[in-house]
Symmetry: D2
Amino acid sequence: MTTVSGFLYPRTATGRSSLIPSPPWHYSGDLLTVEYRTDPARVRELLPEPLELAPDDPGAVALIWADWQSCATSREELLDPVRAQYKEAFAVVRCSYRGRTYSRCVYIWVDKDFAIARGIHQGYPKKLGSIHLTRPHPYGPAPKIEAGARFGATLAAADRRLAQAVVTLREPAESNGFVNGHPMAHHRLLPSIEKGGGLALDELVETGAAAFEGGVPWRGEADLELFEAPTEELARLEVREPIAAYYRQVGVVWDGGTLLESLAKDRS
Amino acid sequence: MTTVSGFLYPRTATGRSSLIPSPPWHYSGDLLTVEYRTDPARVRELLPEPLELAPDDPGAVALIWADWQSCATSREELLDPVRAQYKEAFAVVRCSYRGRTYSRCVYIWVDKDFAIARGIHQGYPKKLGSIHLTRPHPYGPAPKIEAGARFGATLAAADRRLAQAVVTLREPAESNGFVNGHPMAHHRLLPSIEKGGGLALDELVETGAAAFEGGVPWRGEADLELFEAPTEELARLEVREPIAAYYRQVGVVWDGGTLLESLAKDRS
Amino acid sequence: MTTVSGFLYPRTATGRSSLIPSPPWHYSGDLLTVEYRTDPARVRELLPEPLELAPDDPGAVALIWADWQSCATSREELLDPVRAQYKEAFAVVRCSYRGRTYSRCVYIWVDKDFAIARGIHQGYPKKLGSIHLTRPHPYGPAPKIEAGARFGATLAAADRRLAQAVVTLREPAESNGFVNGHPMAHHRLLPSIEKGGGLALDELVETGAAAFEGGVPWRGEADLELFEAPTEELARLEVREPIAAYYRQVGVVWDGGTLLESLAKDRS
Amino acid sequence: MTTVSGFLYPRTATGRSSLIPSPPWHYSGDLLTVEYRTDPARVRELLPEPLELAPDDPGAVALIWADWQSCATSREELLDPVRAQYKEAFAVVRCSYRGRTYSRCVYIWVDKDFAIARGIHQGYPKKLGSIHLTRPHPYGPAPKIEAGARFGATLAAADRRLAQAVVTLREPAESNGFVNGHPMAHHRLLPSIEKGGGLALDELVETGAAAFEGGVPWRGEADLELFEAPTEELARLEVREPIAAYYRQVGVVWDGGTLLESLAKDRS
């Protein structure tokens, strides 16, 4: 009798082929965050029931660029960095579920397959994209993390630019923004393999960091542009009012979440 | 009350952002197939119960390279071809389930995110890779589909070459090989979001083409090499005995499959 | 005393490392051509003396997408197709030199380094880009080369889309257009390594195919859009009047050109 | 009379399209250097006359991975980082010219077109490759620059891995190694456009940094592997004896070089 193993597919006798190893997953990275207000109706239309708009500042959006190195417990990916390094850009809104406020990633683009696979597990709706953000550096022309420093960030998918920002830092801050500061409320879904069969899996889950450390956040302001594309709706979250922008270096551990509700229709 | 739509995530009010549209999905493509025999024990270790080795020629493997253009019913992807074109390489074995023989994809690499997403739905264990295969052409130095024509095919992932083949065509054939000729028996799985929670979804599904057309297959022989890599086990399916190689141009429609068994452990 | 060899760098004892082998170079490929008229002043400003506007139809432009497989005499690249296959998009105008009409590539983007290197040699001003064009196919949803068939083509560089076209074929034609039909008049240039030293090499050369074969061209019309970008000026060649569009499959051999003038300033 | 401008092609009325802007070019980056000794005969065969082996330690090689952000005087590339960021891996040996010791880059791979173009100008024999190196980070699992820290580095081209290293840091050091510490003696070459015409340009140039700043170098040891490939000869520089490995963060300005000799044969 054969047993296959591996946290995800492809599953084999050894488990070595799995696209992602078992959590915990460890991350080192830089976050460039642009917060602004859009029409709350544009946020609401992205929140399936039972989620509702957050009671406070319901149109707040965070568009976040991240430059990561990640690994599992063995840390071996760090020494073969094509397997550890990736970049992502993602849009976060807030919502309310059973009276509690959650953050929720509504769009996200990454540049590696292992990052897509972790998103399937965590409920991040990941597509592939091309993501770039200026990195701080102590020498030469690149910016340091200091007052007046300017960082650029861009996002493209399917050979179209979807977003670009230039952030100017002003001062150290208490926080790295407020939109992405709650536990995440995400859906995990998979359609039935049978035509017209609805969803085989439809879960509402809560996820968040199991451990966190980080440097002093810096706050500034951003010049942000969003662009239309045939298969993307990021630009519907149009900028009505800038809030602020942030830069922060962080270390994060992710180690599982909580099932809030299993919503899949009965398939019997 | 908000409803979001879209066949897959990200789901929005319009459904336009979904990483993949609803089936049916239509494909035009070229298939280069290399069939050989490996140790049947290496096939068996990839077949979780209730699957068993195929009774006849249980060590047969097909390693297939495909160069696709695909679209949904609107066919709009064909006119923005970055959204239609992709290449893949995949290893297929055969297995037995309830007395019937199935084909089963045990490893597969693709080069676009929409192809990964379709694999999640269909139970193909897709990773990203870099896939190349010689294309037939009527003019210049490229081969035509004819006796003596030679086609090369290569696969790499994570900056390592995993497989390479050179196929020489000999004559028209009745079939395009036998290993990938059955309905597919695939698992669709997603781990529980909760640590140690087992699988939230674990389905055995049957999928296959809803419609098919194709040119005359050509048969020949292949020179095939498989290479080791830290996170891949394709090379464990070592070549013991070549069978044959094939080239065929095809059109395919995929429009859903059948749930054979839902294997997920009770999560109550 | 050491001699290194190789048609181009890096040059070694064996010559095997050269980024490109010695000509002749052989090509199989598909050409999708969109011809239109722009303001002749926009063409003139791209023609350094001694080149002048072509006397007839001086504002004519051809924007061409090509999907190539190429190799040197050994043809070994065709069997390791990552080394043979590339795509390109390029803008061609016409000019006059000493009373003769030439074609001239003013912008070009390719997706492989060996194609860049051949451009350095031939005077094509190549950048990297992401190029896609629909491929004809005999089965499934992809177009055949026939009346009513539609082909899409796109170009992006630095994560911005620069051009996109949809071509609808109408009928077989006598030619594949007229703008790219002359010998090419190109500059080959390299600045002096010394600051403010002008050009170390500044040649006007003539190049063209040493041999050519091709299928019947098909003519139709195009819907073409050009987009602005900070470091690109393709969109300055704005569409004033469409001419026609063409699709043709070809085989080409390139085997050297002719030095017309050496223009480099004296560096003594 | 038309004049076109731009430091390199494509040259236009504005100069805005040039693949690279005029020097000076400014760089911020991290260098991971692995020094070792190979058979001096393998170095000698890469040194065309009039270059000779360096008199001291002639078989010394430095294989260097670099992660750069670069820009011209305007620094605008830093804010559109797809135009500023690139990675490279390169092999450096030493040589002697007219009694002076020079460094010389014999192989180099980069991942952006503007980096290739700068190489054409500076005499670096650049190909495209896929380059990765672990980045230091103050939080999470990534290494800091400190004793015991481990950094991985890999190089691939044409879908084959060519080199990989793991470096363990031990202590601060006086230097960042000695092989890449001299002015560079490079060839700039372009074959004649005419078949059998020899070289149109064949210059021996000297280049080096116009300005430099950097952090404390760290020294350690490396585990280095080189791999064969059909069109690469890096592995001929086989490791006979490890010397040391280094990590250093630097800022560099490049602003032109010096023509040592013009070697092109007379083409009259």
